[in-house]
Structure formats: C-alpha cells, structure tokens
C-alpha cells in the first residue's frame, strides 16, 4: 500500500509509569487531512509529538509499538533525518525572531547547514509562501523580521517554513488556538487548499474545525483511540457512544 503515509500500530506512549496512549492503531493515507480530536489531556498532542519524536525530548518519556512513515520505521530512523521529513506547526506561532521572513522560510535548510544557490532558495521561498497563502502580503517585505507580522501571518509563515522542507506529512498541533476568528478561517481555508498535495495530521480542540477541514477523524479519549473513520460518517452516525456524547457536548 504505497498510498499510506503514516501507519501507527499498537502504539503506546508513557511519561514515566503513566501510560498516556494505549495501543493506538491509525492509518493516514496520502493527501488527506486527518483530525485528532478529544478532550484536554486525552493524549492527542502526545500522539503527534510521537510522529516526529519530539515526545522523547521530555525526560522520562517512552514509547512502545510501531510507527511507520512511508514504509520506514520511525523509531529506527535518526530523529534529525525523520524530522526533516515531518513538518510541524505549533499552537503558538514561533517564527525565529532573529531571522527575516525570507530566512524563516528557508530556516530548515539554513540551520541544517545545507548550502544552495541563491536562485534555488528564492524559488523555494516564493513557492512555499505561495502555498501558505502569504506571498501576496509579504512579497515586498521579505527581508523584514518575521515577528513584525500579525499572529495569523506568523502562523502561515511557520506553515511555509514547514512546507519548504517538502515534508511527507505535516503535523498541526492546534494551529489556530492562539488566533482570532478571521485568521483561523484563513488558515482553515489554507488547509483545504493544501490537502491536494500535502498530508496533514491536525490536532484540534474545536469539533467544528475538525468537521470543516478534515477527511477522516480520530476520536481519542483517555489515551484510547475510540473511533476512527471518515469525518462525515463520524459526525452523523458515530459508532461509539462516547463519541456521540463528546460530539453532543456531554463532556469535553
């Protein structure tokens, strides 16, 4: 199945003795948006942080089970190689404050010491900013600091930075939770546009957001993957009682 980008099998994650993810199975196919939703502390952020192995940076963190990225075992790869193939966008926009917009976009190459011709870099910057729908707003200010941008623009800059590396999959950790409604809807539109050629794994608190942008949705509750399937189906006829209760706002 070459169409599968991410495959998670019997995967568990720990903080010390505390098991925060329990035998999760999940498959994400190419060019879809998969949403992970669930109440706070259910383990959804932990799950995506396991995909690029940022989870293990926390002392005492551990994992069990298998995860593969396009047929390669994530946990036998070098983390620094893996993380170049997996883009990540964080809750709070975090452009590098010492760098210009231009440098921020190519930060993945620059910080890794990958040398390239100026023209090549120009192409990457323009293409990435166009893909993140920021080009028109910043094309005349590429050499200004990224921190002068608004929150929503900063977040799109961070998306451009991740896209510049041509990742196999883009991890989005509640990317709109720190943004105003207008920026949020801009970014949601962007995701819909992007999924033509980017695979995305989106963690969200916001049920409506999952419904608006995702193709498949996973509902995680207390570290367990309760239900996983096409978004439309899950939102109309949830199989599990807990999913139904979460969707109708009985808890969460």
């Amino acid at each position: 199945m070459e169409d599968t980008v991410l495959k998670v099998e019997k995967f568990s994650a720990f903080f010390g003795d505390n098991r925060v993810l329990k035998d999760v199975d999940l498959t994400v196919r190419r060019n879809v948006v998969a949403a992970l939703m669930g109440p706070s502390g259910c383990g959804k952020t932990t799950l995506i942080r396991c995909v690029n192995r940022m989870h293990e940076l926390i002392p005492g963190a551990g994992v069990a089970g298998k995860m593969t990225l396009v047929d390669e075992d994530i946990y036998t790869m070098q983390p620094i190689i893996l993380r170049r193939k997996v883009g990540m966008v964080f809750q709070k926009p975090n452009p590098f404050p010492t760098m210009s917009i231009y440098e921020n976009v190519i930060a993945g190459y620059k910080l890794n010491g990958i040398r390239m011709a100026k023209s090549e870099l120009d192409t990457i910057v323009e293409r990435s900013l166009k893909r993140s729908a920021l080009w028109d707003e910043v094309k005349d200010a590429l050499h200004r600091k990224g921190t002068f941008l608004s929150g929503g623009q900063q977040q799109r800059l961070c998306i451009a930075r991740a896209l510049a590396m041509n990742p196999e999959i883009l991890l989005l950790d509640e990317p709109t939770s720190a943004l105003d409604p207008k920026s949020t809807s801009q970014i949601e539109e962007l995701f819909v546009e992007l999924k033509r050629n980017v695979t995305m794994l989106l963690v969200t608190h916001n049920i409506a957001q999952a419904a608006r942008v995702s193709d498949v949705t996973a509902f995680i509750y207390l570290g367990e993957l309760v239900e996983f399937g096409p978004t439309e189906k899950m939102f109309t006829v949830p199989k599990d009682k807990r999913t139904e209760e979460y969707l109708t706002g009985k808890f969460g």
Binding site: I80, F90, P97, T98, N112, R161, M165
Partner: protein, 282 residues
C-alpha cells in the same frame, strides 16, 4: 473631622515623597562628586604626551601611561579569551539543565566565586601560573581577571537564555536541526544582546581591579606586549603614582584615574546601548 484626617494623610504623603527624593539624591551625590573630582583633577593632565609616552624615571619630569593603557587592554583581551567561552558554555549548561547535581554545583560555585576576595584570586593565579612559569606575566594577570569575570558571564548568560521561549527551540528541533546547531544558531543568537551586555559588564568590573594584579601581572615601567612577561595596567599605574612622594606623579595618578573611569563608564554605556538596541522581541 474628616477634613483633618485627609489633611494629615496628605501631609504624610508629601513627607514620604520628600524623604524618598532626598535619599535618592543623597545616594547619587557620591557618584557625581567622584566624577567631578576626578575630572577636575585629572583632565588637566591629559594630553598627547601623557597618553603616548612611557613613565620616566624618578627625577625626570613628564612621562605618561602608554604602557598602562596597552597593558590594561591586553589584560582585558586575555581574560576575555579565557572567560567568555567557558562562561557562556557554563551558562548554556545551566539554562539547559535546570536541575541536577552538576547544575547545582556550578550555581553554588558561581555564588562562592562571586564572593571570593580578589586578592585571594590573585594568590591562586600566582600558584597556578606565576609559580610554575617562574615569572610574573600578563598571562597570569589574565587568568586572575578571567576568574573574576566568570561569575558575571555565567549568571547573565543563564538568565538571558532562560528567558528565551522553549517553543523557539522546539521549532528548530522539529525542522530536524541537531541539538548543537539549535543552541548555536537559534538559542544563542536570540540571547545575543543579554550575553554581550554581560560580557561588557564583566569587563567593566575587572578593568579597575588592582589586587589580583599585584602578584600576577606585577607592573612594568616599560612597554611590553609579550604575554609571558610582566605587564603594566592602569590601576597598577595609579597605585604606583599615587604612592610616590612627588606632586607631579600625584597628578598623573589623577589623570590615569580619569582614563580608567571614562573607560569603565563607556563600557557600561555601550552595554546599555546594546541591550536596548539589539533586544529581540519574541
């Protein structure tokens, strides 16, 4: 009745404000008096000859502090070369490892080092460098001063790096950037203004140190740029001129003091400028 109460409170208020202003003024007074005194007594000595000629032997008039200025600059350079890399590295370690045995030991050492009398540090440098090499030297002076710089650099680096948001480091790591590059290319540049400020303040602190130089750099009548030979320095030259019985040399001491104060003041002002101008907003 109410009116009286309010009146009394207002009076107390005025009294309090007055007291604060008066005390603040009093605490500023010594600074201005020192500056005034040194300028009045010192500036008349400063001229081309004073800055660019060497001390003359007793009995001859004239002479200057050229060797002392060069010596002080060399000592600053030597001690910075030693203490800046070590200090920044220790600061990085502390900000990256908030707890742990080594971190706690370093933190304690920094506090102890900061409180160590400078003369004791001079003796240590004597033991470490002067005794084995069997000669007083600029190098030993540099070692003594670098030990004095360390606590300031370590502390300011740690405090600066602690303020850098964790999410910046995360952003870099998530791009597949190795840890060491993340520290060197993302974390350090983000804290550059604070770190530079710390270095300059530590330089300003050691520029006027005399005690650790007494039996390390020792002092030298002549121009010297060899780090393995004794070297002169401004504070030492002030000490030497001031202790002499000759009125002309006393005025030279004032002149050298003036140069020293201007140097220290300039370093402090530059440090402030850097921390304001290069401040990175997150």
């Amino acid at each position: 009745m109410t009116g009286g109460h309010v009146g009394r409170r207002l009076a107390k208020d005025t009294l309090f404000k007055g007291a604060v202003c008066l005390l603040a003024f009093l605490s500023l007074l010594p600074l201005f008096l020192i500056l005034y005194y040194i300028t009045m007594k010192g500036i008349s000595v400063i001229n081309w000859d004073f800055l660019f000629s060497l001390p003359r032997p007793i009995g001859e008039s004239g002479g200057g502090v050229a060797n002392a200025v060069v010596g002080t600059l060399m000592l600053i350079a030597l001690s910075s070369v030693i203490s800046v890399p070590c200090g920044i590295a220790a600061g990085i370690y502390l900000s990256e490892n908030k707890t742990g045995k080594l971190s706690n030991t370093i933190r304690l050492s920094v506090i102890v080092l900061q409180g160590t009398p400078s003369i004791v540090i001079g003796i240590i440098a004597y033991l470490w460098v002067v005794a084995p090499l069997k000669t007083f030297s600029a190098l030993s002076g540099g070692v003594a001063l670098s030990i004095m710089m360390l606590p300031v650099i370590i502390k300011t680096t740690e405090e600066t790096l602690k303020l850098i948001p964790y999410h910046l480091k995360e952003a870099s790591l998530a791009l597949g950037v190795p840890y060491y590059r993340t520290i060197l290319k993302v974390v350090l540049p983000s804290g550059i203004s604070g770190i530079l400020t710390g270095i300059l303040l530590s330089v300003a602190r050691i520029t006027g140190e005399t005690a650790p130089l007494l039996f390390t750099a020792f002092g030298n009548q002549f121009m010297n740029v060899n780090i393995f030979k004794p070297i002169d320095s401004l504070p030492y030259r002030i000490f030497y001129y001031a202790m002499s019985p000759y009125p002309e040399w006393h005025s030279f001491a004032w002149g050298a003091s003036f140069i020293l104060v201007v140097l220290t003041l300039a370093l402090n002002l530059i440090a402030r400028g850097i921390s304001a101008k290069w401040k990175i907003q997150f």
